[in-house]
Structure formats: C-alpha cells, structure tokens
Amino acid sequence: MSIESEIAREVGQLPAQRPAVTLKSAEFRRTREQSWVDLEKLIGITERKGVRALAPDDLQRMPQLYRSVLSSLSVARAIALDRALLLYLESLSLRAYLALYSPRIGLGEAGRQFLRAFPAAVISARWHLLIAFLAFAVGIGAGFWLTVEDESWFTTFVPPWLSGGRGVASTRASLLNGEIFAPWPGFAVSLGIISNYLFSHNTVVGILSFSLGLFAGVPTVLLIAYQGLMIGAFIALHYDRGLTVDFLGWLSIHGVTEISALLLFGAGGLVLAEKMLFPDRYSRVDSLALHGRRAAEIAVGAVMMLFVAAILEGEFRQLVASTPWRFVIAAATAVGWLTYLVLLRPRGRTP
C-alpha cells in the first residue's frame, strides 16, 4: 500500500469502491481449513469407535495432521483475532492430543506391565522395606518378651475382636483343636472367610499404614510395630502352652505372604513419607506425583499378595492339617516371592 493511499485513507477520502479486504488471518484459515476438517473427522471416528476403526492411511496421517493443527494454533495465536477460530483450534488440538497420547492397551498388557513393574518398585524401596521390617521385628520381640513375663499383657495388646476367644484362659487342648487343627468349614463358607479376611482387619491395617505415610511416616512405623506386638503376644501365649512350633506352622502358611504384604504396604507408605518430607528439587505435590506411582505399584502388589494370603488362609490352612507340610508350603511361598521379586525382576532399568 503506497504512502499516498495511506494518507488518503487517514483523511477518510478514499473512494467507496476500494479493492476487496484481505486479512492475513482469513487467508490463513482458507488455506489450512481442509486439514482441520480432515483431522476432526479422524478424531470423531477414534472417539466413537476407537483407533482400530481407522484405515491404515488415516492412521498414518493422524499424527501429521495433529502436528499441523498444533502449528496452525501457534500461528493463529500470533496473527488471528478471530475468537471462534482460536477456540476451535484449541479444542481440536486438545482432542487430537487426547486421542494420540492415551495408553490404548488391553487389560492383559496392563497386567504384564504391572507384573514387570512391581519387583522393580519393591527393590527401589528396599530401605523403606528394611525400616518396616525392623519396626515389625522390634514389635514381635517386645510383644513376646512382655507377654511371656506376664500373660495379662495379651489382653492389652490384642483387642477382643481379633483374639477370637483365645486368651489367658485358653488351654493347650482348646488352642490345638479350636484353632490350629480346626476342621475345614467347606467351600462356600471358606469363600466367606476369604472375603471377610480381605475386607477386615488386615486390609484396614495395610491401607492405613500405606496412606498414613502421608503424615511423615510416623503412624506407619507405629502401626507396623503394633502388628508385631500382637503377633509377639500370640507367640508367647502358645509358647507358654508348648505349642510354639505348631502355632508357627499354622501362622506361616499364609503369614509369610500376609506379613510380607503388610510390610510392603508399610514400605509404600514410607516412600510417600520420604517424598513428602524431602521433595528434592520438585514441589511437594509434584514429588508425590512423580514417586507416588511407584508407591502405588507397591501397594497394588501388596493387595495382590493379600489375595494369595487369603486363599492360603481360607482354603489351604485348614485342609493341610500337618505342621511339617504347613512349613513346606510356607517355605515354598517364601521362595516363590523371593524368586519373583528379586531373581526374576527385569534388569537394566534404573529404579
């Protein structure tokens, strides 16, 4: 545009039959519009029927169109003042982003990924696991020592809804027949026992010790030590009646798995605690999000182990009415978990 016409327009004297107005943004829209419409169509198919419904050519074009719409958006933000256009491009980019960056895997693949990730998560939390284990061991030691000295501690440590009628008044015979070698109640009822077991005490403790990690980990350690205290008290009760070995057999057939799960819950909680207290160079929330997945993987794995423990307790414990065989099964579970978690873990991945 020449300077003269500029001046003429400034004074408002340009004749009415001036050339058609051309806007950069309108031109820009005209040249790019087709690719936006194409992308929108592809996204529509993906949103309604899934990515498998796309033809191979379209599948190949989609990422290219996505990049081009992102570039359109950036250009439009710089040159266009058409609000409807900006909103449309932003919305289209977001939809394309969602369509392209979603996980799109099946349950089986997710399960496999999880089974690979769980051992790595556990190994990376080995120090937290050690702390949980030490708290537990201290609990057992204290519980055992105190209860052996004076059995009235048992009622202090073990609340009545967990003792199941066992206590200071129990005799050797009642423990042996009512607990250790009690008959198997049948399939349906044992399913009920499994369910009861899962949705009762142990899960609460597991969840609590995991989530209370958010409170700097102190409640987690205390809770785990308290579990040790109770088990120590139980051991002392049976020790006084000469049933230590039989009780340990009865306990360990599912206890190896169950206690490992509890300790893992605790370790997960301690990971949360550490990342909250020492967020490194991130904000606390970001640090939690960054490492929270690992902690959650540990907790999910622990839930899985609780399931195994529930089946062992509900079905096998009372079916296998022999202490040596119970020890064999317990040892087998221990070896199994160790093999899976330590020996078979995927290598070469930084934790």
Binding site: R9, E10, V11, A16, R18, A20, V21, L23, S25, A26, R29, G50, V51, R67, L70, S74, R77, I79, A80, L81, D82, R83, A84, L85, L87, Y88, E90, S93, R95, Y97, L98, Y101, S102, P103, R104, I105, G106, L107, A110, F114, A117, W161, A188, V189, G192, S195, N196, L198, F199, S200, T203, V204, I207, A289, L290, G292, R293, A296, V300, V303
Partner: protein
C-alpha cells in the same frame, strides 16, 4: 496464558476453572476442570453398571450353589465379586482406545496427565486402585460391619472419618484432585466441544473506516462484537445490535445515519475493518488488548 482467556470468561459467563498443560510438542493448551457433580454422576453410572453385572453374575453363580449360603457368606461373596469387577472395569475402559469409562463418556469428561505428558498405564492403574483405598474398601467394610461379618466396633466410625478426610482433601485443593489423582499425577477435565464456525469477515466492504476511527477499540471489544454478531438473529439480538451500533457510531464520530436495515451489514463491515487493523497492528508489535490500552497508546 493463552490469548482467549479473559474474553471467554466474560462472554460465556463461564464458571469453569481453567488450567494450562503443555503438550509434548511444547504447545500450551487450556483445559477446563470437570465439576464435582459431573465426576460424581460419572462414578454413579459406572457403579450402577458394575453392580448390575455383579448381581447378574451372582445369580448365575447361585444356580450352582443354591443351598447353605447364609446371609453373611452371601454378602462376603458379593463383595469379593464386586471388588474384582469394578477394578477390572475401570482399568479396562480407561486403558482402552476410547480412553474413558462409559460413565465418563456419557458425562463428557476425561482423565489426563497433569503436566500434559502422555497418560501412562501405571498412572491409570494407580489412580483407580487408590479409589479402592479412598472409597470402596472403607464402604465395603462398613457394610460388612453392619451385616455382621466383621463385627461392628469402633472401626465403623473411624472408617466414616476416613472417607470424609479424603472428601475434604478433594474439595480443598485447587485442582480438584482426589488422593488418586495426587498420587498418579492426573487431572479430570471436560472434553472440549467447539465447532468450526464460519468466518465473519466481509470481503466486499460497503462502509469504510479510517485508522483513526479504528483506533478507538482493542481486541477485547472486537471479540465481544464477534460474539454478538454470531448470536441467532432474533428480536432481542436486533435490539442489542442497534444499541451497539449506536454506541460505536458515537464513539468513532460516524456522522452519517445508519438506517435500521443496514445495522447488521454496518457492524460486520466495522468488525472486518477493525480486525484487519488490529491484526496488522499486532503483527507490527503493537497489540491492543482493549479500548483502554488503545486510548493510552493514542495519548
């Protein structure tokens, strides 16, 4: 921040909270957070589907095991079944190609990574299993306690407090994250639904404006005018258009009268000229946000 924010808030009288994510390609995108009511609706729809499936499976199972099921055992088995069902359901749908559960799709919400990275499978799993800790397990245990499975004790109150704590957490943070979102680093957003509207630019202008006249307004006024021109042309809009036309004429000293029939063409021409002017100014590095910025520049 993106350029559309202020006007969008003004025009839609929009109550939605916005956040910005950066795509892996480095482009910032604005997302709208989902409301609690939407999320609750989606959850209820999903749970009803799960419950229906669970009861159907239990009825099928009941054909095999008819006798000897006491109420306690029945509740126990139902819970076990629902536990598996809902977890597989949520994880399956959020990992599938469509990326959301039927409930979420019905409401039109989605889960995304908080910072705009790709949503990973482990985030989806972590997010959904934490829901177990936040809501389902405590509620299941409450039901068990009430049904007499676990024996009602002080724990029931504790469990209620537990659920309430997590609700408070969800309501009290800025991004409406529940504990699962916090741990998995996710956000729940509303799916965008913006259609491509036609361009309002009028190629053949009848009315011609001088730069001095166009300097009166800025981007914000332009976009308000755009919104007005896009309204359906009913009586109310006609009155509004006439009023706006009148105000613009006074502001820019447009001396010739604009007949009522020409109101809309006049405004469209003004919109076109104004946009051409402002876009050119923006390209030259002189963006005008609104009429106050425009006036200040002229002083």
């Amino acid at each position: 921040m993106t350029s559309t924010d202020a006007t969008t808030q003004l025009l839609r009288r929009d109550w939605r909270q916005r956040r910005e994510i950066i795509t892996p390609e480095g482009v910032p995108l604005t997302v709208e957070l989902a409301e609690f009511s939407e999320r609750a609706t989606a959850l209820i729809i999903d749970l009803l589907i799960c419950l229906a499936a669970g009861i159907a499976m239990l009825l099928a199972l009941g054909l095999f095991v008819t006798t000897g099921l006491s109420g306690v055992v029945f509740v126990g088995v139902l819970m076990l079944l629902l536990f598996f069902l809902r977890n597989l359901y949520f994880v399956h749908f959020e990992l599938s190609a469509r990326g959301a559960t039927p409930g979420k799709r019905a409401v039109g919400i989605r889960v995304i990574d908080r910072h705009g990275g790709p949503l990973t499978a482990s985030a989806v799993i972590a997010r959904n299993l934490t829901r177990e800790l936040e809501l389902f397990l405590p509620v299941s245990m409450l039901i068990s306690a009430l049904a007499g499975v676990a024996g009602a004790h002080w724990g029931s109150l504790l469990l209620l407090g537990w659920v309430v704590c997590f609700l408070v957490l969800m309501f009290s943070n800025r991004d409406r994250m529940r504990a699962g979102d916090l741990i998995a680093g996710t956000l729940v957003i509303v799916l965008p639904r913006q259609r491509l509207l036609n361009d309002l630019v009028e190629a053949r202008a009848r009315f011609v404006f001088t730069d001095r006249q166009l300097m009166a307004y800025g981007k914000r006024e332009l976009q308000v005018l755009e919104d007005l021109l896009r309204r359906p042309g009913d009586g109310e809009t006609q009155v509004l258009l006439a009023d706006v036309c009148d105000r613009i004429c006074r502001k820019i000293d447009w001396t010739q009268p604009v007949p009522p029939a020409d109101t809309a063409p006049f405004l469209r021409d003004f919109y076109t000229a104004q946009r051409a002017f402002l876009e050119r100014e923006q390209l030259f590095g002189r963006p005008r946000a609104d009429k106050f910025a425009a006036a200040a520049k002229r002083e």
